[in-house]
Symmetry: C2
Subunit: 467 residues, 2 copies
């Protein structure tokens, strides 16, 4: 019997349960509500378009993997404000001069009725490229900013880190172990989802296993060994419950001594786990001990503060590590815990016509107009993206990345299994130039603007206002 | 009328709503469940004690502020596993050889029945000091590890960062603006709570305002200005809804031009906000423009990628900034997004007697036995902590920091208002030596062990096993 149910040591049937996001109407910044009230009072309910993107990449990223769209769409579709929430809002001093109609009619019946275009999850994206484009009555588009950024940017950060870990592991499985390091239990759940989407083989997070159908992996903790006092007893008692092919943890007291205990136990462990110390030296010594005992089939699993650099080092020297467990590096995207995502107004209807808008703060430009991303391929490899206005016909050899996923507040993109998203990711990442996939981040993927977009930027840069 | 309802520009009555944490029975690592099943099968239901702590501080921290206990206790009190969750667990390959009684009797009726001792929220803590100590039947104590670490370590990381930002701001208010950067909406909510507990004056997070009674702060976004096309119109329309004392955002196009527009508008803005550019130079120029127009009462609010170093710089040169808005630095504790918290078995009943346990992996020691922290004061200043076994009588001049907060699975520490916790934090931080509160982190707060604890460590270090 195999206790690590990840695909490393056996795969189990995965069943996706429905994925409800509790629609938190007030999971937003206060200014979104004051502005909504303002737009309502000013009668400014015209269509407006917002785009969600990053301005630049963190130092150790050469691309991002879009993720979190599923939760974002679920949020948009279920968004509403409950009566007790409205009562709270009315009690705030800043809101007491707002017309009662805003609360009683507008907020009480509030639903998101707009349209969304998005890059599908698992797609590599680059700075300035919209991951999501929302067109909705101005107050609706405004209201959803905070939660959309939180949902999409977090999962995108984790999926992007996962892609680097997978690259470093060079074919060896990586398992997400970060629930305890995550920013709360919800964050742990979505981190597991994004990590699997980004290429991990399994998660330790049981809730994520149930909700998203992700394979689970679990071994034993140091406390198991400590509870029985010594490894000989602990390993034997574990095997009595879970069979001889369990995964045994070696580093509670003395790793090599524990390896000898495992080798002499008469068990045939599926794997042993090293969680501390010099993984390269220990894995070699443990491999010898296991092989000498005829346990060539027993794998070696390494964990403990691993990141892509450490994994690449272990792989580069040919240490006999068969799989890696990664925690905080994944669940907090520890070297880039925030991607600084933006959600900017790019177009608004004024006098019955759509007008492009542009922010021009120092070093904080936004680019005007509804956009489409065209990814240009040569011989099956993505050689560059072209950022175009949405009404342009596209770039030669290019494929559009944004597709309509919601209209009239209803999803058009139906929920997809995480396995499909993961397969898309694999294909899309393999189409990136090798230089963009390396850890060193030396190359820059080319993203250019069409002439029409350039012209729009030039025109707005020279004007006094926004359009 | 004042739109920023934070205490900077007016305070509103705060009302705490009940704070339900949805008890997520499966928000745990898979190995917690396999070990539980193993303990159950082995009949190992004896009392065990676990302690939650950090082994070391991140580079830029000289202390941590304990936080998240409220959510941890709520989790413990409401923990259960639902029938559909049990069904899922039974379907996993790793679990199919487990006795049916484990699922049908043990898990189906599972409740946390143990005892908890904790450092109260808002208390400074140091490496090796338990923030939480759980004594419960072994499988119960094991099961709760993952969620307890996630709840407590996340809020502790945010509260600890807040303490540094408050120190840097040197009396100027700091407002938490990080919801959009947080790792999902739940993380944003708890980040707002921890930031306020840690010393921030308000949050932008409306849900956190409702749930925890935290004052809200909100101004306007660039999109408001862009929606109207120019500042003159945008400011006037805002004032029509919210009155002349609003907070006006200046950096959508050109900060100084916008400041002149604000100055000439006939409004008396409560404040103006700068969100980009050279905050020192801009704040001085904007102050001049406002003062010349007779708007000496209008405050200047700065935001945009701020951290404690940037704030300290702005304060050091005497720039006329009255308050700060901080995002990712707070809500993701960006320079230390994971504290590497541990939850270790320190004692277990064996043969009817409590036996101390100790892990001795390289650089990953745990320290044996149930412990108490004694904080020793001289002239009202904390001069050092003594880590003692729980049954020791304490250190001279010392106050015990761990108190019992739960017994028999029921809370003894009733929910406290966030304002009380915040007041405790203020008092406790002010009792730290000044050298420990500085940003530079040059001094190390002394934490020593009692002789009895040292003796226990020595004894276990020499023994082969754990007790």
């Amino acid at each position: 019997m195999i206790i690590a149910t990840g695909p490393i040591f056996g795969r189990h049937a995965t069943r996706a349960a429905p994925v409800p996001v509790r629609a938190m109407g007030l999971s937003t910044d206060f200014y979104e509500l004051t502005m909504m009230a303002g737009y309502h009072a000013a009668g400014l309910l015209v269509p407006a378009t917002f785009e969600l993107y990053v301005r630049e990449l963190p130092p150790h990223r050469s691309f991002l993997l879009a993720a979190g769209l599923e939760q974002a769409l679920d949020y948009l579709e279920n968004l509403h404000v409950r009566p007790e929430e409205i009562q709270y809002l009315r009690s705030l001093p800043g809101m007491q001069d707002v017309q009662p109609e805003f609360f009683e009619d507008y907020l009480a019946g509030f639903r998101f009725t707009g349209e969304a275009w998005a890059v599908e999850e698992g797609t590599p994206v680059f700075p300035l490229e919209p991951l999501l484009r929302i067109t909705a009555p101005l107050p609706e588009g405004q209201f959803v900013e905070t939660a959309l950024l939180a949902h999409i940017m977090f999962q995108t950060s984790v999926a992007s880190r996962a892609a680097r870990l997978i690259e470093a592991a060079s074919g060896r499985p990586v398992v997400e172990f970060g629930a305890r390091r995550a920013h709360g239990t919800e964050a742990g759940r979505y981190a597991a989802r994004a990590a699997y989407l980004g290429g991990c083989e399994a998660t330790s997070n049981v809730e994520a296993g149930l909700r998203f159908g992700i394979p689970l992996s679990g071994t034993m903790a140091h406390s198991w060994v400590m509870a029985f006092g010594d490894e000989a007893t602990a390993f034997r008692r574990y095997a009595e419950v879970f069979g001889g092919r369990a995964v045994l943890l070696l580093d509670t007291y003395d790793t090599l001594r524990a390896a000898r205990v495992a080798a002499a136990s008469g068990l045939t462990p599926a794997a042993v786990r090293l969680d501390s110390g010099d993984i390269v030296a220990l894995s070699r010594a443990v491999r010898d001990i296991l092989d000498t005992a005829g346990l060539q089939q027993t794998k070696i699993f390494a964990s403990g503060d691993l990141d892509e650099w450490r994994i690449a080092e272990i792989v580069a020297v040919g240490a006999p590590v068969d799989a890696f467990g990664v925690g905080a590096a994944l669940s907090t995207s520890s070297d880039a815990p925030s991607l600084g995502g933006l959600y900017k107004l790019v177009e608004i209807e004024r006098g019955g016509a759509a007008v492009a808008t542009m922010k021009r703060s120092p070093r904080k430009y936004s680019y005007p107009g509804r956009k489409q991303i065209w990814r240009v391929f040569e011989n099956g490899i993505a050689v560059g993206d072209v950022l175009a206005l949405a009404n342009e016909s596209g770039a030669p050899g290019g494929q559009p990345l944004l597709r309509r996923v919601m209209s009239g507040g209803r999803r058009e993109l139906l929920p997809q299994s995480i396995h499909e998203l993961r397969a898309r990711r694999r294909a899309a990442v393999s189409q990136l130039p090798a230089s963009i996939r390396t850890l060193q981040n030396s190359a820059r993927y080319p993203v250019s603007f069409t002439q029409a977009l350039e012209a729009s930027i030039d025109r707005l840069s020279r004007s006094a206002g926004s359009g």
